[in-house]
């Protein structure tokens, strides 16, 4: 052990109560940082998982068409006109989904594509009527671009797959219409009435989906909505979901259709989560700042109390750098213990918070607190604490190093 560390350790034990205060602040700062980040990012990640599991990473819909404008080639009286592009307009739906699917499969990041037909209908149950949205899907394709398989809360997909007259209803829709598995209901669209049975009930946790979205097998949906060809949109799954924005831009250029990534579709909520995350970082950074101030205070006190020790060390050949390091080592030792204990505290509290019951429905479905165990929260907490505490420790350590031994011994040290 170097003499500087040895001295630092002994100086630390000389100011136990102050050091314990600094240590407690660091432990709390690091622990709270981890817990708040774990909970904030836990909800955010779960929201993203729900979004991806419901509407997929990328949605392709509406054909893009350049709109042209004629202008006179040689002034107002000119008989000649030229066509110039003055913008783009979108034509609803996808005429040839098969062609787009073939092109999409050439994108290296695309893992699956599902064709979806969408239209409005009126549902009539024995209890009440309501307006809903019908989604026609090829079940196996759709299971590859969504979490529909794991979102089933009642009934079975096998029933839906094998029987064309079966429908998948959202939890809220089924509750509102008082429909149960096997119950019969009527759908009315474009003046046609079709009778179906409830095959299964799903729950995404997204209120806007679970209340209005009803899935039918594609052929049934085509028949009901009178759309024998085409699709409303393609739902695309990606291997790397985080590349969705870049891929969406690329797809739009190549396919000449409007393409929306999940980040674009959910930008409002994502901004809310980002603001929440920044807000909690600021709040917990204040705790770490308090820890840094406590450390500053403790070290400043030790420097004042140890001026004679500093003088004697300097007279023995200890350099200014040695003196500075002795004080920085004290900060580093407390910091290391504080960070380790803070990480353990953060981990423990995160686990405890995870057990807390908290029923939430609306943007996702959960019955307890959602947390995210990420090494980066621990790294972030430790880096924040290290930066703040070491900066706070620099001042007293530099002051200690600047002390002149002659002045101290003469009793005139400032």
């Amino acid at each position: 052990m170097s003499p500087n560390i040895r001295i630092a350790l002994r100086f630390l034990t000389a100011k136990k109560s102050s050091m314990m205060m600094s240590l407690s602040c660091i432990v709390l700062g690091v622990g709270l940082f981890i817990v708040t980040q774990a909970t904030t990012s836990g909800f955010k990640d779960y929201f993203i998982k729900t979004v991806l599991g419901t509407d997929g990473a990328v949605r392709i819909q509406d054909k893009m068409q350049s709109s042209m404008q004629s202008i006179a080639a040689g002034g107002n009286d000119s008989p000649f006109e030229i066509q110039v592009q003055n913008g783009q307009k979108y034509i609803e739906g996808i005429d040839y989904p098969g062609q787009l699917e073939t092109m999409l499969r050439t994108f290296p990041n695309v893992s699956a594509v599902s064709e979806v037909l969408h239209g409005q209908a009126t549902i009539r149950s024995s209890f009440k009527d309501d307006t809903i949205q019908v989604y026609g899907i090829h079940l196996d394709d759709h299971l590859r671009v969504s979490d529909l398989g794991t979102q089933i809360v009642e009934g079975s997909l096998l029933d839906f797959r094998t029987n064309p007259d079966r429908a998948l209803l959202g939890r809220e829709m089924a509750d509102r219409l008082q429909l149960k598995i096997g119950d019969t209901f009527q759908l009315e669209a474009a003046g046609m009435f079709h009778r179906y049975k409830v095959g299964a009930i799903y729950e995404t946790g997204v209120e806007d989906v679970d209340r209005v979205r009803l899935y039918l097998n594609m052929e049934e949906a085509r028949s009901l909505l009178k759309k024998p060809t085409g699709a409303s949109y393609l739902q695309v799954n990606l291997f790397d979901k985080n590349r969705a924005e870049a891929d969406a831009g690329w797809m739009a250029q190549v396919l000449q259709h409007s393409v929306a990534s999940w980040q674009y579709r959910e930008r409002t909520w994502l901004r809310v989560f980002r603001a929440l995350s920044v807000s909690t970082i600021i709040t917990v950074s204040i705790f770490t700042l308090i820890a840094a101030l406590a450390m500053f205070n403790t070290l400043a006190m030790i420097v004042m109390e140890k001026t004679k020790d500093i003088a004697i060390l300097r007279s023995m050949g200890y350099t200014r750098q040695d003196i500075s390091r002795i004080f920085l080592w004290q900060a580093a030792i407390v910091l290391a213990i504080g960070c380790a204990a803070g990480c353990l505290l953060g981990l423990g509290v995160t686990y405890a918070v995870e057990q807390l019951p908290l029923p939430i429905r609306g943007i996702f479905a959960t019955n307890h607190f959602i947390v995210n165990y990420s090494i980066w929260h621990y790294v972030g907490a430790v880096v924040t604490a290290v930066i703040m505490v070491m900066i706070a420790s620099l001042l007293p350590s530099r002051r200690a190093a600047r002390l002149e031994p002659g002045d101290i011994i003469r009793g005139t040290a400032q």
Partner: protein, 230 residues
Amino acid sequence: MKAGGPDDVALRCADLHRSLGQGASRVHVLKGVSFEARRGQVYAIVGPSGCGKSTLLYLLGLLDLPDRGEIWIDGRLMSNSQDAERTAARGEHIGFVFQFHFLMMEFTALENVMMPMRKLGRLSADAMAERARQLLDAVGLGEKTHRFGTQLSGGEQQRVAIARALANQPSIILADEPTGNLDVKNSAIVFDLLTRLAKENGQAVVLVTHNPEIAQRCDFRKPMRDGVFV
């Protein structure tokens, strides 16, 4: 740079000037002091309070910088050297004993004596501990090596300070009123120890004292008044 003097001159200064204080209260404390100390000799600097004895001692110990003049330590001119060089010279060539002991209270007597050796880093940990024990034995504290500073009397603390000053076998021992805070009996013990060990090791001892008996027993007395030797 060599001083040009005989090899047994451990410390030499010439025409040292030093003023202390700021602005109107600035006082010219040392007014051209010249002095040399030889190995194996004990020098007492005596004089009234405020005459510049301690200021001279701190300059000779490279704890302070002179305004003018030169200081040679073991033949090397040190008065104009950088802080790092002066710090290294203190660790290697100079041992200090102060009036108020200045032991580090969080450390045992043994650890206090080992402190300068640890910085110099010439010996192994075992060799350092062995030498520290020998030195504490020599000052009569062989049984109290593991006592903390707070568990030692004033006289014992000063003896530990002497052992610590001798730890790196410096060529110069500078002592600022080493017996000033001790009773008569302990003063005699501390002075005897300091001079005996220094003479055995061939070290030059320069001590500042108000005690006429102590001064009388030194090899040389250097009376000072108003910043000059008289």
